[in-house]
Assembly symmetry: C2
Homo-oligomer: 286 residues x 2
Amino acid sequence: MTPDPRLSINQATLKYASLATALRVTAEAGVASIGLWREPVNEVGLARAARMLDDSGLRFSTHCRGGFFTLPEGPERRAAIDDNRRAIEETATLAAAGAPGSQAILVLVVGGLPEGSRDLAGARDRVRAALEELAPEAQAAGVTLAIEPLHPMYCADRAVVSTLGQALDLAEGFAPEVVGVTVDTFHIWWDPQVLDQIARAGREGRIATYQVCDWKTPLAEDVLLSRHYTGDGVIDFASLTRAVIDTGYDRDIEVEIFNAEIWAGDPAHVVRRTAETFGAAISPHL
Amino acid sequence: MTPDPRLSINQATLKYASLATALRVTAEAGVASIGLWREPVNEVGLARAARMLDDSGLRFSTHCRGGFFTLPEGPERRAAIDDNRRAIEETATLAAAGAPGSQAILVLVVGGLPEGSRDLAGARDRVRAALEELAPEAQAAGVTLAIEPLHPMYCADRAVVSTLGQALDLAEGFAPEVVGVTVDTFHIWWDPQVLDQIARAGREGRIATYQVCDWKTPLAEDVLLSRHYTGDGVIDFASLTRAVIDTGYDRDIEVEIFNAEIWAGDPAHVVRRTAETFGAAISPHL
């Protein structure tokens, strides 16, 4: 089976593979696109990672990830902002190195409540302040910052942005090519407003990337690792995917799976299985 | 320390105590109110449970729980609806047996996706249909059905109603004394719309019961059991409690904690600790 031409393998799906292995198994499976993570890129160095990506012939769909914007002012917040500047540069460099159709999109996980804090409104205000600080640099680099609403179960410790509507509210006032949103089925499938908010995201030109994986219960003991192949859980990919496509979204679609069992598998097998399950669950709706 | 006069101990906080023990330790601690669960009530029988409640001198704040409305038409759905009829009767009987100020409120956990289904919209429609069927009987019995939005992490397997706004939308068209909502901090604290929706619930006269407990990470291995004493986690009880009180809410406030460690403790100690932590985290905002 030929993988869907719009499928992109998010590197986190191959957690324990090196950058070289991830690029190789993705290309060998006939998948055309990949989303990279900062840690394995920085392990080999940005310039070398860009050359490896170029050599692979793959498109580059997103860079994961920036964010962690919720700390109050001080050296730690400054370090986080500076780290995001580097992430913007990496994103631009990798997008330029990828095959035609590559995108310069930096996915943002905005951060949870600072240690000991209960001030959710304050944390959310600091996300906006960080976006205001970084937007000019992203714009200059031609990079889109893609705010990712995370499932509300991660609100305390990962992301105080929990719904697509809230991410779009945050993005207001920024140019859509500078601040967009990440639409990830795992995080938003439950939201009674999700179809309306996908349509709104489309109207506002803010769907930077569409990512898919499935939700299944019982949740994994570590709820971060509870993501599954599309079709293995309860998410209705038909309605969500059609809603995204109906907005005119025409980019790659990433599969990003955090799952200890899948991570323990052979990366080449994981890519093939990802392509098969994508073909069955997503492709019919494209 | 005298417990706050508005504190009610939800019986689930004393999971392994019999009804007799739960009533005794609650009254002995000087707490004035209790919320009961159907299983321990039915273990002794409704008539006897009502006499025991009467003898305890406690107010009755809610009955937990009805719901599980998402099955498609068939014998299992009929059995669930019939079971809710019995729960309505139990609620009315216990409210009449409790001390003055008792309330006839049946908390509803609406149910998750039926096995093998991905049709979230259909499941939600069936919740509305069940409410339409049960509302006349609740009204005749003087019972308020209190839809409880559960945290979105329970959407697949427990409750397809995930936000206060969604619960209020569902309640529209019913009289507020017949269909209201349960405002439980654990389930809704993360919601960027929560303060607006609490105000709306107040305006629409639908806050049937206010319940408090805390959220802490990492989540328990079984995410159902991840509820904590108020003050032990990250929820800002000041803003949520003030929002509820600002609507004119003047009833009891329940503490409902599912937590294996707390359940393993001596029930008398658990009630005292619940009262202390309520006094510190909630009472200042009443």
